[in-house]
């Protein structure tokens, strides 16, 4: 055995003899290896994209909402347990009677009729049919309509308000958020939130207005909401929140509606509640699964400091506290600890229901995109389904991804096979052309394996060069797919190494047959070959 360099030079010298044929055979290998690298990059890209989407969807997110959806609960801390089974709808007549009673009650307390109706319609964000079918009408507080004139009961007065609808009760405070953040291990971030519907207009041009979702929040929200990107400006700063400044981050959709598509509104002023707010940023989505759309609550929305909301509206309540856990597997445990902590902080006795609702993102996701009927059934069975959801979702996505990957790998394999046939063809030509040389080398003492090695190394050199080129083209192709078709790809150095190894193996495989033909030549006949 000589050094690999010896065989490399031997192979190269031989290949330079038939340049055109060599180039064509090499092209075949290049295409095959390129297809392999590109498909590996696509597969990996899909894998990472799935992971990103899952994280963007908030696999590690817990949302604590004021009020308790499961009103009649008397024992225990898991609101979902109340829905462990599907509950048949109540009698519609009974529902209408309760609705009327609630309306009378609110009128008696001096609230304006149109506000009550709007609030009842809004319910807990559920369609009336869904409210009806749950059979539970929530008492709704008109302070959820900031456009109305009202006085503001403090959170303390409202504590224990377990009959309130989801998000409508005023049971959560900023201190609750601080306590969750500081007292529960494994909590990564906790952001307070007040959410209202709000009408906003461009300062100086009241005709440019939009009705959207207002989120009073804290500076850490972008850490919780993965998949956010800021095309203009940045998110609220800690300072702006601490000082309750009148600054605003617009969702991409809302910004486009106010200022025109793609415009940069940073530095402009927007009027909310007759107050000027300076736009400091625009938030968009990095995720193909979540493009900004009307009513999406994230990008058809505006974000201002929660402290500013409290100051301007003279509030102290929170609608939600959004929590992320350091590890996605921890959400169930931490949800339990949050429940215990808040029950203790709110002084809720053993026999009393929670005045808040803790939901993990898994529960949210299951409900999303389902018809209300289906969502209710799913929600009712969440206790058992929760532990499966994220894993199952990711498993089924990955299964789909594997199918696609298998298809691509199949294409790559066929290309490689065709490339290998091309190389074999060239080698057979080479053996025929060089029969005399083979005979000479045999006469001078080459053994059969020496001859075989020579031709195999020729094939390997050819395939290696083709493989390196193919790896390069594969990377380019992957980048092109990402650039022009927005497919997510990820080229790993390992896949390039693998591709080149595959090319070398292809060289050996396609070289073996021509090489053995050469090695079996009869030296006398070969020497006399013309």
């Amino acid at each position: 055995m000589h050094s690999p360099l010896h065989y490399l030079l031997l192979g190269l010298t031989a290949l330079l003899r038939n340049r055109l044929q060599t180039a064509l055979a090499m092209l075949g290998v290049t295409v095959g290896v390129g297809a392999l690298v590109a498909s590996l990059a696509l597969g990996r890209g899909a894998q990472e994209s799935i992971k990103d989407q899952l994280l963007a969807a908030g696999a590690n997110m817990i949302v604590v909402t004021a009020g308790n959806y499961a009103t009649q609960k008397t024992q225990g801390t898991e609101p979902a347990a109340d829905h462990a089974r599907f509950t048949p709808p109540v009698d519609p007549l009974q529902f209408i009677a309760r609705l009327a009673a609630a309306r009378r009650d609110l009128l008696a307390r001096g609230y304006a009729a149109h506000n009550i109706d709007a609030a009842l319609r809004a319910g807990a964000g559920l369609p009336v049919s869904a409210v009806a079918s749950t059979g539970r009408l929530q008492r709704v507080h008109f302070e959820d309509d900031p456009m109305a004139e009202h006085d503001h009961p403090t959170a303390k007065e409202r504590l224990g308000d377990s009959m309130a609808g989801l998000g409508a009760a005023a049971t959560l405070t900023l201190d609750d958020a601080v306590a969750i953040r500081e007292q529960i291990p494994g909590v990564q971030f906790a952001a307070s939130g007040v959410h209202e519907n709000a009408r906003i207009a461009v300062d100086g041009d009241p005709t440019r207005q939009w009705f959207t979702r207002m989120h009073g929040t804290e500076s850490r929200l972008p850490d919780i909401r993965r998949g956010w990107v800021f095309p203009f400006g940045e998110f609220l700063t800690e300072r702006q929140v601490a000082d309750a400044e009148q600054v605003m981050v617009l969702g991409r959709f809302a910004a486009d509606k106010l200022f025109g598509a793609g415009a940069n509104p940073v530095g402009k002023r927007v009027i909310l509640w007759n107050q000027p707010f300076e736009v400091v940023g625009v938030v968009g989505s990095t995720s193909w699964a979540q493009q900004p759309a009307a009513g999406d609550d994230q990008f058809d929305a505006l974000y201002i400091p929660v402290t500013t909301v409290h100051r301007l509206l003279n509030l102290s309540k929170l609608n939600t506290i959004t929590v992320t856990t350091a590890s996605a597997g921890d959400t169930t445990r931490i949800a339990g600890e949050i429940t215990a902590l808040l029950r203790q902080r709110h002084g809720i006795g053993e026999a009393m229901a929670d005045d808040f609702t803790v939901r993990t993102q898994a529960q949210e996701m299951l409900g999303k995109g389902l018809s209300p009927e289906l969502a209710r059934i799913v929600g009712g069975n969440l206790a058992t389904m929760e532990q499966l959801t994220i894993e199952q979702l990711s498993t089924s996505l990955q299964r789909a991804n594997r199918t696609m990957l298998a298809l691509l790998a199949g294409v790559a394999t066929v290309s490689l096979l065709v490339g290998g046939i091309g190389v074999m063809n060239l080698l057979l030509l080479s053996v025929t052309q060089r029969t005399r040389e083979v005979g000479l080398r045999m006469a001078l003492g080459a053994r059969r394996r020496d001859i075989a090695r020579q031709f195999v190394s020729e094939a390997v050199v050819l395939c290696l060069v083709g493989g390196v080129l193919g790896a390069g083209f594969g990377v380019l192709a992957a980048n092109g797919l990402e650039e022009f078709f927005q497919w997510s790809t990820a080229v790993s150095p390992l896949s390039a190494v693998l591709a080149i190894a595959v090319a070398a193996a292809l060289g050996v495989l396609s070289g073996v047959y021509p090489a053995s033909r050469a090695a079996q030549l009869d030296p006398i006949g070969a020497l006399q070959h013309e």
Partner: protein, 247 residues
């Protein structure tokens, strides 16, 4: 001990239903330092003899002892080793690799000798063999840049590079003009006289055979005459040219 000892050597080829008796019982001893010219018309069996002597082919019957070892029944790869270490070939068509320098051509037999020689050692021995042939300044020329005589001298350097005991020259002057042929024959004579290398020359030209110390005539697969010869000297040639002018 003779370098070559053939004992009742027979070779039968089967061509379809016909059998061709190329050699029909050849017995022959060649001693070290002999310069044997084997002559005969085409179809006489001299090429077959050459192939068997060169360990490129095996006899159908009989024995071939090379340096005392019976090589009649060795495997292909064992024969390749014998060719590599003990036999130097000089062919009619030179058989140099194209687009390959003279030095690289001379190195080819060293590539297949074991243990493997380091590249620097191979190169040194190739250059040494080329120097002995007076081709030092042509070592890095390609065959296409060399004259016929120079090409044949490169081929002789290649035959000598592995220090064989036997040189087999198959019509070495067939492609050369008279002056160059004489020069090549003078080189072969020198090898025999200075290095005691045994030379077997196959030719159909009587005046080339005349350079040998012994002339064997073959016809129809048997030896018809085997006579010692007073070798013709290059200096006998009236048209002999000085070496420098031959090139």
């Amino acid at each position: 001990m003779p370098v070559i000892s053939l004992q009742n050597l027979k070779k039968v080829y089967k061509l379809g239903d016909n059998t061709v008796n190329a050699l029909r019982g050849v017995s022959l001893d060649i001693e070290e330092g002999e310069f044997v010219a084997i002559t005969g018309p085409s179809g006489s069996g001299k090429s077959t003899m050459m192939h068997i002597l060169g360990c490129l082919d095996r006899p159908t019957e009989g024995h071939y002892l090379l340096n005392g070892n019976d090589v009649s029944n060795l495997s292909r790869d064992e024969l390749a080793d014998i060719r590599n270490r003990q036999i130097g070939f000089v062919f009619q068509g030179f058989n140099l690799l194209p687009r390959t320098t003279a030095a690289e051509n001379v190195e080819v037999p060293l590539l297949y000798s074991r243990p493997v020689l380091p590249a620097s050692e191979r190169r040194a021995r190739a250059l040494e063999a080329l120097r002995a042939m007076g081709l030092t300044d042509r070592a890095f020329h390609h065959p296409s840049q060399l004259s016929g005589g120079q090409q044949q001298r490169v081929a002789i350097a290649r035959a000598l590079v592995n220090r064989p005991t036997l040189i087999l020259a198959d019509e070495p002057t067939g492609n050369l003009d008279t002056a160059t042929s004489i020069e090549v024959m003078r080189l072969l004579q020198e090898l025999r006289e200075k290095q005691k290398i045994t030379i077997v020359l196959i030719t159909h030209e009587p005046d080339i055979a005349a350079y040998g110390t012994r002339i064997i005539a073959v016809r129809d697969g048997i030896i018809i005459s085997d006579k010692p010869n007073v070798p013709r000297r290059v200096s006998d040639e009236p048209e002999a040219l000085p070496l420098a002018a031959v090139g």
